[in-house]
């Protein structure tokens, strides 16, 4: 078995390095996607909102991150976002913001 997996391992490593996936590309299951799924119930699939709740798809990661931080600290008023933003760490907010920036 040891020898028989040697070759595919190398082959896989070559494929790996040639794919060079950016986060979330082609089906990699990422933390960013898991965390962002918590937002789509209100903001729509991938942040594309059909109704009164703001659309956040494709907004800049900076804007989304700053908004969440300000909702969380109370610097920015909200009806419900403050209560949600408090559920995420800085690192998680960064991953979420990057996810929605990519949804054009």
């Amino acid at each position: 078995m040891r020898t028989s997996i040697g070759i595919p391992l190398v082959a896989a490593a070559v494929m790996v390095s040639s794919l060079l996936a950016s986060p979330g590309q082609a089906g990699e299951l990422t933390r960013g996607e898991m965390l962002s799924a918590s937002c789509s119930g209100c903001h729509g699939t991938d942040g594309k909102s059909p109704g009164a709740i703001p659309d956040i798809s494709g907004k800049s990661a900076d804007y989304i991150r700053t908004s969440l931080e300000d909702f969380r600290s109370g610097q920015r008023d909200s009806t419900v976002m403050g209560r949600h933003a408090k559920g995420y760490t800085d690192e998680e907010i960064r991953l979420i913001a990057e996810y929605f920036e990519r949804q054009k």
């Binding site: 028989s4 997996i5 070759i7 595919p8 391992l9 896989a12 490593a13 494929m15 790996v16 390095s17 794919l19 060079l20 996936a21 950016s22 590309q25 082609a26 089906g27 990699e28 299951l29 990422t30 933390r31 996607e33 898991m34 965390l35 799924a37 918590s38 789509s40 119930g41 209100c42 903001h43 729509g44 699939t45 909102s49 059909p50 109704g51 009164a52 709740i53 009806t79 419900v80 209560r83 949600h84 933003a85 408090k86 559920g87 995420y88 998680e92």
Partner: protein, 429 residues
């Protein structure tokens, strides 16, 4: 390489991906390679979310959704239909988009049995579906017989309206036909039950209707509990919008109902006199949908025990249970929670069928309630997996502020409609 199965190869690729990241290369994408047959039973908030997100996360999977009805009528906003604010069409959704835009095979049939050894689901129409992973999201069934005198026949006269559709319309018609000055009784059950704030939102929106159409009428809420969801906010709202119209009777004051008489239109509390009413809405005790019991997924109880990280049943391997039917407390039995669980479950299945590690789950819920068309309140929570199960993130979530302005309540009412549009499009569009 001869005895290397495809599955093992995928696993190895994953290992290679992990190894390469150690060497400083990025982790490879693999879920495109996810293969297998996933069958989802139940196309409501939990099941339809899970099916859609399975095909979104892992387009290679063969996903089949089994749903009894050709269209789905949501309980969310059915209280607004009772009040005449929306019609039934507004809360009715179809399965075309899941089928045509998301590649989910939709089979309109009833699942009648599950064989966890053979990994098959049998359908009332006679066919059998083979699965690698099964997701069960059948919602609730009424515990007929838990309240004396309450059976299916009685529910035509005394609707529960806790599964939306014809029951909703029976109750609506009775409200339209009752006299001004009449009495409406809403009987709320003990925990746990579907939609903890639901009975109180219903009382509010019926009050909204009666205030305009039959202002001398009264609503009595008989409750089998001593307190209820968002209670201070509801009581404040009733005081502001419907003074004197809504009366809540706690369990300790004789609020628990043990029997009904559909002929005489009375309810019998556990103590005290029977009470007559013009309209009775009995919300009876509930249990997981029938197929969960048939398949043994409930164990000894009324609801299904699951691994709260993956929603895999603790009774049967490779079968996941989500939504109202599952034991997922502290998450409430809500559509939002069912949908969130459907997504987490989809992640866990996509990961397992592609040899990837599942990202740590994150779950969420918000229950909006309308006290009037321009008066909304909410309760929210964000959840993570703790040592022994789901826990709410401390410091996050909570209810709308008690001292909010009229403008704040109006904004939340508007966002409540926005939420409905977003979540229904996230699931069925």
């Amino acid at each position: 390489m001869t005895h290397l199965t495809r599955r093992n190869f995928v696993r190895m690729m994953a290992a290679a991906g992990a190894a390469s990241s150690v060497l400083g290369w990025p982790i490879v994408s693999l879920a495109g390679k996810a293969e297998g047959r996933v069958v989802v039973v139940g196309g409501g908030f939990g099941g339809a979310s899970c099916a859609k997100y399975l095909s979104k996360l892992a387009p290679g999977l063969d996903v089949t959704l089994v749903e009894r009805d050709s269209r789905y009528i949501t309980c969310p906003f059915s209280n607004a239909v009772l009040a005449g604010l929306y019609d039934l069409d507004y809360i009715t959704h179809g399965y075309d988009a899941l089928q045509q835009s998301h590649g989910v095979k939709v089979v309109h049939d009833s699942a009648t049995g599950i064989d966890p050894e053979a990994k098959t689901v049998s359908l009332a129409g006679g066919s059998t579906l083979q699965y690698d992973r099964l997701v069960v999201s059948p919602g609730i069934d009424i515990q007929w017989g838990a309240i004396e005198g309450y059976d299916q026949a009685a529910s035509e006269r005394i609707p529960h309206a806790w599964i939306a559709g014809s029951q909703t319309m029976i109750l609506r018609k009775q409200l339209e036909e009752m006299p001004d000055g009449g009495v409406v009784i809403i009987a709320a059950p003990r925990n746990p039950f579907r939609c903890p704030p639901g009975p109180y939102e219903r009382a509010s929106l019926i009050a909204h209707y009666l205030k305009q159409a039959k202002p001398r009428s009264k609503i009595l809420i008989y409750d089998a509990k001593g307190k209820f969801s968002k209670q201070p906010l509801f009581e404040q709202g009733w005081q502001a919008l419907y003074p004197g119209m809504v009366e809540w009777i706690s369990e300790s004051d004789g609020g628990a109902i043990e029997g009904v008489d559909a002929g005489n239109m009375t309810v019998q509390p556990t103590f005290g006199d029977p009470q007559k009413a013009d309209v009775i809405n009995l919300i009876p005790p509930q249990k997981a949908g029938a197929i969960a019991h048939t398949a043994g997924l409930t164990g000894d109880g009324a609801w299904c025990p699951v691994n709260q990280r993956t929603f895999e049943s603790t009774v049967h391997k490779d079968i996941h249970v989500i939504g109202d039917a599952a034991i997922a407390n502290p998450m409430p039995k809500s559509g939002f929670a069912a949908s969130s669980q459907g997504k987490v479950c989809a992640m866990s299945i996509a990961a397992s069928l592609s040899g990837q590690e599942m990202p740590d789950p994150s779950y969420v819920n918000t229950c909006y309630s309308l006290i009037g068309p321009d008066y909304g309140i909410s309760v929210a929570a964000v959840y993570r997996m703790g040592e022994s199960g789901i826990v709410a993130v401390e410091g996050a979530g909570g209810v709308s502020p008690k001292d909010a302005s009229e403008a704040f309540r109006r904004t939340e009412a508007r966002y409540s409609v926005g939420w409905y549009q977003s979540i229904t499009s996230d699931i069925w569009a």
